[in-house]
C-alpha cells in the first residue's frame, strides 16, 4: 500500500516497522511530528522528555537494556544533548540507538542554521542522510541495523524540507525484534578514564569498518551521465541537483559519515570537472579536498540559507539571475504575532511601559520582541533568559537604574530555566524572573509537559506545581497573578523589579488556542465610534484583532478574531470598547 507521508511521518513509520521499543524527544520545529506520530504506535513506548539531554540519556538507558531506542530533536536540541551524545559515541549501542537530527537551513523556526553533520564527524559515529520520505523510512530501518552491527549510535540527519515535505511511501508491516535484556558491562558503559582510553581505540577501529561499509553500500551510488560534469550531493540537495542538472553525472551520498572515500575517488577519476552541491557548511567539500581531490563547492553554491532548483541552476550559470517583477507597491511584511487574547500580552505591555531591560527566551512569547510590544532585549537559547538577566544585573553601570526582568515560558522553565534560577538564588542575584505559564508547550503545536498532568501516550500523571517548585528552591518572593489583570500585572512587576532581592512572578492563564479554550463561549467586543477619540491606547497591545483606521482616526475590532480577553477594554479611558450583545 502507498501513502503520502511527510519525512517526519516516514521516520515514525520506519521506527515502527523496524521494531523499535522506545522513543523520546523534546518538541522542536522541524522535528516535533516524529514523536507525535510514533505515539500512535502502541508497540513503542514513547515520551516527551523535559529536555533533549534527558531524552538522549533515557534512550541510552533503553539501549543498555537491549531495546531499540530513538531520539528525535531539532539541530540546536543536539547542543543540549551533546554531553551524553559524545559519551554514547564511545559506549556504542547494545540495542539500536538512533538520533534523528532535523536541521533547519533557512531558519524557518530557529535561531541559527548550524549543520549537524559536523556532530557525526566529531563524535565519530555513523550518519545517514535521506533525500525524501521513502528514504526517511528506509534509512531509519537501516540505521537500526547499522547501530547494532557496528555497536554505534547512528545520526539520521534530515532537514526542514525532508521533515515537512510529503512524498509517496510504500508501507510495510512491523518486524518485531526481541529486546536483548540488560547486562552489566562496566568496561563499555562506565566511561571513567581507564575505560574511555580503551573505548577510544575501539571507536577509531569502528570508523575504519564503517568506512568500508560506506564504500560498499548501495545507498552511496554513482549514476554516470554526461561525464563533463560530476556532482557529489546528499539529502534534499540531491533532488535540487536532479531537477536543475538532469544531464550531469551524480554521486548520491546516503551515508555521509564516514564518507565512501573509494567511491569518491572513482567518481572523481571518471568525470572531467567535479562539483559538490550541499546546503550550509562545506562538509563533503572539506573532506574531498583533504583527500587531495580538486572539487568546486562553496565557490559557486551559497553557504547561507537553503537551496532550491533555481539557485542550483543559477550557480551553474544555466540561467541568468532572476530579475524581480517591477511592481509599484510590494507586500508589507506579515510577521507572526501573539494571537488575539494571548495571555502573555499583559506582561509585555507592562515591560514596554516600565521601560525595563528584558532578557527573553524561546517559545511563542519570543514574538513579544516585535513591535508594537517591543518588550524583549535578548533571546539566545532555551533557558538563557535567567542567566543573561543576572549577568547584566551584576555588570551594568552602577548609575544605570533600569530594572531587569527575565521572561520565560513554563515549558522552557522546566527544560532549562530551573538551573539558572538556582544560580540566581545561590549567587545572591536580585533579578526578577517572570514565568509565563500557559500550561502547554505552545509554539510547537501544543505538546504536553510536566505542568499539564498528561503524558505523550495520553496517560494521567503528576501535575507539576510551578509555584511550589519555585518556593521549594528557597525563594521568599514568589507571586502568582492572573495575566488578564492588566493593571495588577504592571503594579506587581514594578514592585518586584524595585525589590532588592530576587523574586519570581508566575503569570497564569492557558493558551487561547487549546481545544478546551476554543470551545468555551466567549464575549466579543466592538468599538463605539461615537466614544472612540482615536487616542490609540489600545494599539500598543499588538492585538491582531485591533486595527487603526488612519482616515477616520478610530480604532476597530475585527469580531472574527476577538476572543473577549478584555485587555483592550482595560486600556480604554473613554468606555468606547463594548460587549456585543447577541
Amino acid at each position: 500500500m502507498k501513502e503520502l507521508l511527510s519525512g517526519n511521518e516516514a521516520v515514525a513509520r520506519g521506527a515502527f516497522e523496524a521494531g523499535f521499543h522506545f522513543a523520546a524527544a523534546y518538541p522542536g520545529t522541524p522535528s516535533t511530528e516524529i514523536l507525535e506520530n510514533i505515539s500512535k504506535y502502541k508497540e513503542i513506548h514513547s515520551q516527551w522528555a523535559v529536555n533533549e539531554k534527558t531524552s538522549l540519556e533515557t534512550a541510552l538507558g533503553a539501549s543498555f537494556a537491549g531495546a531499540r531506542a530513538l531520539v528525535a530533536l531539532k539541530h540546536v536540541g543536539l547542543n543540549v544533548a551533546a554531553d551524553p551524545f559524545f559519551s554514547a559515541g564511545y559506549i556504542g549501542a547494545r540495542g539500536s540507538l538512533v538520533i534523528v537530527s532535523a536541521d533547519d537551513p533557512g531558519m524557518h523556526s530557529s535561531q541559527n542554521e548550524q549543520d549537524n553533520r559536523n556532530y557525526a564527524r566529531s563524535a565519530k559515529i555513523a550518519m545517514l542522510e535521506p533525500s525524501d520520505s521513502q528514504e526517511s523510512k528506509d534509512f531509519t530501518k537501516l540505521s537500526a541495523e547499522i547501530s547494532e552491527e557496528f555497536d554505534t549510535p547512528v545520526l539520521l540527519r534530515i532537514t526542514t524540507r525532508i521533515s515537512h515535505s510529503r512524498s509517496i511511501v510504500e508501507m510495510e508491516d512491523r518486524k518485531d525484534v526481541p529486546k536483548k535484556g540488560y547486562e552489566k558491562n562496566v568496561k563499555k558503559n562506565l566511561v571513567m578514564p581507564a575505560h574511555a582510553r580503551m573505548l577510544h581505540k575501539k571507536v577509531e577501529e569502528r570508523l575504519v569498518k564503517l568506512k568500508e561499509y560506506s564504500n560498499n553500500s548501495d545507498i552511496n551510488s554513482i549514476d554516470y551521465n554526461d561525464k563533463s560534469i560530476g556532482i557529489i550531493t546528499s539529502g534534499i540537495s540531491y533532488q535540487y541537483v536532479k531537477e536543475a542538472m538532469p544531464e550531469a553525472s551524480v554521486l548520491k551520498i546516503g551515508m555521509s559519515w564516514p564518507l565512501p572515500d573509494k567511491k569518491i575517488r572513482e567518481f572523481a577519476e571518471n568525470v572531467e570537472k567535479l562539483y559538490v552541491v550541499e546546503e550550509n557548511d562545506p562538509f563533503i567539500e572539506t573532506e574531498v579536498k583533504a583527500m587531495g581531490i580538486d572539487i568546486t563547492g562553496k565557490d559557486i553554491i551559497p553557504g547561507v540559507l537553503e537551496l532550491n532548483p533555481r539557485i542550483v541552476k543559477e550557480s551553474f550559470n544555466k540561467v541568468d539571475k532572476l530579475k524581480p517583477v517591477e511592481i509599484s507597491e510590494r507586500a508589507p511584511i506579515r510577521p507572526p504575532a501573539l494571537c488575539p487574547g494571548c495571555p502573555h500580552t499583559s506582561v509585555f505591555r507592562a515591560i514596554n511601559k516600565l521601560k525595563l531591560i528584558a532578557t527573553g527566551d524561546i517559545g511563542c512569547y519570543t514574538l513579544g520582541a516585535l513591535p508594537p510590544l517591543s518588550a524583549m532585549d535578548t533571546c539566545v537559547d532555551m533557558g538563557a533568559s535567567i542567566g543573561n538577566a543576572m549577568g547584566i544585573e551584576l555588570m551594568k553601570d552602577e548609575d544605570d537604574k533600569r530594572g531587569i526582568v527575565a521572561v520565560i515560558g513554563d515549558s522552557t522553565f522546566y527544560h532549562s530555566g530551573i538551573t539558572g534560577l538556582i544560580d540566581i538564588i545561590y549567587n545572591k542575584g536580585k533579578s526578577t524572573v517572570i514565568i509565563l505559564d500557559n500550561s502547554i508547550t505552545a509554539m510547537t503545536g501544543h505538546q504536553d509537559n510536566p505542568g499539564t498532568g498528561k503524558t505523550l501516550m495520553g496517560e494521567d500523571t503528576v501535575k507539576m506545581d510551578l509555584t511550589k517548585l519555585v518556593k521549594g528552591l528557597g525563594l521568599e518572593h514568589v507571586y502568582d497573578i492572573d495575566s488578564y489583570d492588566l493593571e495588577g500585572v504592571e503594579k506587581l512587576i514594578k514592585r518586584e523589579v524595585e525589590r532588592d532581592e530576587p523574586s519570581v512572578i508566575i503569570a497564569h492563564n492557558p493558551c487561547m488556542l487549546l481545544p478546551e479554550m476554543k470551545k468555551k463561549p466567549k464575549d466579543r467586543f466592538y468599538i463605539d465610534h461615537e466614544k472612540c477619540t482615536g487616542c490609540k491606547m489600545c494599539i500598543p497591545l499588538g492585538c491582531p484583532a485591533i486595527s487603526f483606521d488612519k482616515d477616520a482616526k478610530k480604532a476597530n475590532i475585527d469580531k472574527q478574531f476577538c476572543v473577549g480577553c478584555t485587555l483592550c477594554v482595560q486600556t480604554c479611558n473613554f468606555d468606547a470598547i463594548k460587549k456585543i450583545e447577541e
Binding site: H108, I168, R334, P335, G542
Partner: protein
C-alpha cells in the same frame, strides 16, 4: 511533464488542508507527487506557503522563482508577495480577501492600494474571485477554500471526479453536500 503549483495565504486560512487534498488527488491520478510546507513560527498569523509538484517523476518538492505554473492565493497581497515565483505564462488565481498584517493594523505600514491591478500589469492570466462572498451565498464561510480549490482544479489536467471523491473523504460528513456545491461553483467559475 511536471506541473508546479503554489498555494499561498495567511495562517489559519486552510492552506494546508487545500494542499493536502490537492496532493492526494495527484497521487490518486497516478502521478508522482511532492508537497512542501513550513510549520512552527509561521502558524501564528504569518504568511503561509505550500508547494505542490506533480508529474511522471518529481525530484524537488520546492519550487524555485519563475517556475510555478499556477499560484492560488487566498489573500490579495500574498499573491503580490509570491509573484516572482510565477512562470511567464503562468496562471494567478486571487481571492479578493484582505487580511491586514500586524504592521498595517498598528499603523506602521500601509496595505497596498491596488495589488490586483498591479499584478494584472505583469500577469496575463489573472482570475479574481470574492471567495468569502460566494461561500456565504452557498451557506458557510468555511467552504471558501473548497471554492478556491475548484477554480484551481479547472486549470489542471486531472479528472474532476477525482477531486470530488477526495473532497468527500477529507471534509466533515455533515458538510459534504455544501462542499461539493462549493467545488462545482469553483470548477465552473470563469472570473
Amino acid at each position: 511533464m511536471v506541473k508546479r503549483i503554489i498555494i499561498a495565504g495567511v495562517g489559519g486560512q486552510g492552506i494546508l488542508l487545500a494542499s493536502d487534498i490537492l496532493s492526494e488527488v495527484c497521487m490518486e491520478a497516478g502521478f508522482d507527487v511532492k508537497k512542501s510546507e513550513v510549520h512552527g513560527m509561521s502558524q501564528r498569523g504569518g504568511d503561509v506557503v505550500s508547494h505542490v509538484v506533480y508529474g511522471e517523476k518529481v525530484y524537488s518538492p520546492l519550487i524555485g522563482e519563475g517556475d510555478a505554473d499556477v499560484i492560488l492565493s487566498f489573500e490579495k497581497i500574498e499573491a503580490l508577495r509570491n509573484i516572482d515565483f510565477l512562470k511567464k505564462d503562468g496562471v494567478m488565481i486571487i481571492n479578493k480577501m484582505e487580511i491586514k498584517p500586524l504592521p498595517v493594523a498598528s499603523g506602521l505600514a500601509d496595505y497596498p492600494k491596488n495589488p490586483i491591478d498591479d499584478i494584472k500589469k505583469h500577469v496575463n492570466n489573472v482570475i479574481v474571485v470574492d471567495g468569502q462572498k460566494e461561500a456565504e451565498q452557498i451557506g458557510n464561510i468555511r467552504v471558501m477554500n473548497v471554492i478556491l480549490l475548484g477554480i484551481l482544479a479547472s486549470h489542471m489536467d486531472i479528472k474532476k471526479e477525482l477531486f470530488v471523491e477526495t473532497v468527500k473523504k477529507k471534509v466533515p460528513p455533515k458538510t459534504v453536500d455544501m462542499n461539493i456545491e462549493a467545488f462545482n461553483f469553483g470548477y465552473s467559475y470563469s472570473g
